[in-house]
């Protein structure tokens, strides 16, 4: 195809619904012709957005010369759902229902980070009941386990190690069972709310978590036996996806990627929130800057998470799980009825039978929401992937004025080019797996 009609690949025409562009693959002829002419093996390959070894709908655009990647770029946005825009049209409490869906493998981190930011705006950080904070930590650490298990399982699967995939998803299922028992849902919980939690732990939860910790301590050794030190595993992962400290700093990479360079940066230690300074745990690091180091860090972090979970269970004291301020606390006392979880019958009896004011208050708080004083706040938590930061702005209304999530997957994925260029095509998959990007969080 000649250069003169190059614009015909994306011709526009006017319709009643606006300009419609028809993008065609017209310039392929040119590409094919040039590729045929050139005597080297330089070609451009699109990997994804629907490829079994990309994480979700990630599109990798690779320029390869033989088996060597000379240039690598990411195409993202396929899973953009406009969550940040949607948040501006819901109340502050409804926001948790949205943010939990961002990085769907770390829902409790999204919820906690968002709630910490809203609580900072409300100025009630010090009024959150201890029990609520301990349960938040407990759920976050269980969530770290489930997220790292998926990272290791899918990472293994992409190497062809299906056994480790089966193991990972088997153990993750145990965590999701606990989540289901506590929140009613395996994912997308909306359980952590501004001011505390939606409800208290159900009976039997503590026992089930204790059993899980015992079982998991045993299961974790299986990963060691199967993968740690395994020559094939090491052969595929060592020195692959290399990114040193300077690269991490420049590209803003955090989490296991940063810790694999030997810097023990963990917000739970350096900028503690939710009382992490009172828990006893270690921050594992590696000094190899590669995928194998990140794998070892994730394994060790799971052990440390189990330690924190045990400490949480020992600390659980009976008490409220929501702030005392009735202007913020959701009025519903939830209870399990014959038709599922809902407002407790006592509460309904009170608002419908005896207290008109309580009924009005309930109605106003649920439909209108509470007001948040104007200003902005930034809260960050150490998610399994790195620093998850939330910037919230309020204009004094009942809805967020602006919520922005600094998702670690989004930032870390930028490092893909630095890790992959100059390496082999097969190593791209290992490197991307070691970043552990989740497209729900990347695209939001």
């Amino acid at each position: 195809m000649s250069a003169s009609n190059a614009t015909s690949h994306a011709s526009g025409r006017e319709t009643t619904e606006g300009t419609v562009y028809t993008v065609t693959g017209g310039d392929w002829d040119e590409v094919v012709e040039q590729a045929a002419k050139s005597d080297d093996e330089r070609i451009i390959v699109n990997m994804g957005p629907q490829h079994p070894s990309t994480h979700g709908v990630l599109r990798l655009i690779l320029e390869i010369d033989g088996e060597t990647v000379t240039e690598a770029r990411c195409g993202i946005g396929y899973l953009h759902t406009g969550i940040e825009k949607n948040l501006e049209y819901r109340t502050w409490t409804q926001g948790t229902t949205f943010v939990t869906r961002m990085d769907y493998l770390t829902p409790f981190y999204n919820e906690t980070a968002y709630c910490l930011a809203v609580e900072k705006l409300l100025g009630i950080e010090n009024e959150i009941p201890d029990r609520a904070t301990v349960i938040r930590v407990l759920l976050m650490e269980l969530n770290r386990l489930s997220s790292h298990l998926v990272a290791i399982a899918t990472g293994g699967m992409e190497l062809g190690a299906t056994t480790i995939m089966i193991y990972g998803f088997r153990d993750r299922e145990l965590v999701l069972d606990i989540f289901e028992l506590i929140t009613g849902l395996r994912m997308n919980h909306a359980y952590i709310r501004p001011g505390g939690l939606a409800q208290d732990l159900p009976p039997g939860a503590v026992d089930q978590i204790r059993e899980f910790v015992k079982k998991m301590q045993k299961n974790l050794t299986e990963y060691d036996k199967l993968a740690t030190g395994n020559p094939i595993f090491k052969g595929r992962m060592q020195d692959v996806g290399y990114l040193d400290l300077a690269g991490c700093m420049a590209l803003g990479a955090t989490g296991p990627i940063l810790r694999s360079t030997g810097l023990p940066h963990d917000l739970r230690k350096t900028d503690p929130y939710c009382g992490y300074e009172t828990y006893d745990f270690d921050v594992p690091t590696a000094d190899t800057c590669d995928s194998y180091g990140r794998f070892l860090i994730r394994l060790e972090e799971m052990r440390q998470s189990l330690r924190i979970v045990e400490q949480c269970l020992d600390r659980l004291e009976p008490g409220p799980v929501m702030v005392g301020d009735k202007k913020i606390a959701w009025p519903a006392q939830l209870a399990l009825g014959p038709d599922g979880l809902g407002n407790s019958l006592d509460h309904i009896k009170k608002i419908m039978g005896t207290s008109m004011e309580a009924l009005i208050h309930h109605f106003k708080l649920v439909t209108e929401g509470f007001r948040v004083p104007p200003g902005q706040a930034y809260a960050a938590v150490e998610s399994p992937k790195g620093e998850l930061g939330v910037h919230v702005v309020s204009d004094g209304g009942t809805r967020p004025y602006r919520v922005h999530f600094r998702d670690p997957s989004f930032t870390n994925l930028q490092a893909m080019a630095a890790m992959c260029e100059g390496g082999q095509v097969a190593d791209v998959i290992v490197a991307v797996a070691s970043i552990d990007p989740v497209m729900g969080g990347v695209d939001r």
């Binding site: 049209y89 004094g396 809805r399 695209d443």
Partner: protein, 277 residues
């Protein structure tokens, strides 16, 4: 003043709302007839303690809100149509800022002076709110300030956690804000930089030369707000399709949606619903 009491009650008590509706309507009408003034002047009266949020003349006004429930097409029959209030964000703080904030501010001002840059011309204002330190930076000096914050050993903010855009359509001349959070791993501190650009000149210098991590973040902010980051290596859309028209996170860009029927009632689209902000 009867007007102020009425306003207080309407915002304050859930239980008073229904009852004070009629009162509010008649008072507002009376006010209109008497003074020709459309509602209560927030500058004059909002010192009252029973109003929610931070009102009054402190802080910086970003918007004047009229009426209630988000009704702006003349269909507001609630009686609050004449309500006028100003929306204010926390304003500039004065020394001492407290804690390590003074140290960072001193070091930054000193380092800028060393580069023959008058701190007052680079730092438009300093806001301390909710234990967070914010420097509002004149956009032409943003890169220099960021480089100083990164390189000065006493400051050393190595990690930029990206940029977040905010759109204040009624803050004339400062409609678009770019907000950066910088983290110092060396000193364990977080500060915020904020720059603004008018809507008819949406340009902010790119921080990619200082913090390469901002590459995608600036593309995202451009994609959603239309802020052009001058000097960015490849400022293209990142989330939305390349041929998308408009910038979705701006406040004048509609959310969209269709009304949905639920149990016989029409539920309007989320951006058409009653709003209390």
């Amino acid at each position: 003043m009867s007007e102020s009491n009425n306003n207080g009650a309407s915002n304050n008590g859930a239980s008073n709302n229904g009852a004070s509706n009629n009162n509010g309507a008649s008072n507002n009408n009376g006010n209109k007839a008497a003074g020709g003034d459309n509602g209560v002047n927030p500058e004059k009266d909002l010192g009252s303690q029973n109003l929610p949020g931070q009102r009054g003349d402190h802080g910086e006004e970003i918007r004047v809100q009229r009426g209630m429930f988000g009704a702006n097409n003349g269909g507001d029959t609630s009686g609050y149509g004449g309500l006028v209030r100003s929306v204010r964000l926390p304003g500039a703080s004065s020394r001492p800022y407290g804690g390590w904030f003074d140290e960072v501010a001193d070091e930054l001002e000193g380092a800028l002076e060393e580069q023959d840059l008058l701190p007052a011309s680079a730092i438009e204002k300093t806001v301390v709110d909710r234990d967070e330190l914010t420097f509002h930076i004149a956009r032409e000096h943003l890169v220099r300030v960021a480089r100083t914050l990164r390189d000065d050993p006493a400051l050393r903010f190595e990690l930029c956690t990206g940029v977040s855009g905010v759109h204040y359509p009624e803050d004339k001349g400062r409609e678009l804000h770019a907000v950066y959070h910088l983290r110092s791993l060396t000193h364990g501190r977080v500060i915020r930089l904020e720059v603004s650009a008018p809507d008819d000149d949406r340009h902010v210098p790119s921080l990619v030369p200082v913090y390469p991590t901002n590459d995608w973040h600036e593309r995202e902010t451009y994609d959603f707000f239309g802020l052009v980051f001058d000097g960015h290596p490849a400022l293209t859309r990142i989330m939305m399709p390349d041929d998308w028209q408009g910038f979705p996170q701006r406040k004048d860009y509609p959310l969209g949606g269709i009304p949905v029927e639920y149990k016989g009632a029409q539920i309007p689209a989320p951006d058409q619903r009653r709003s209390y902000s």
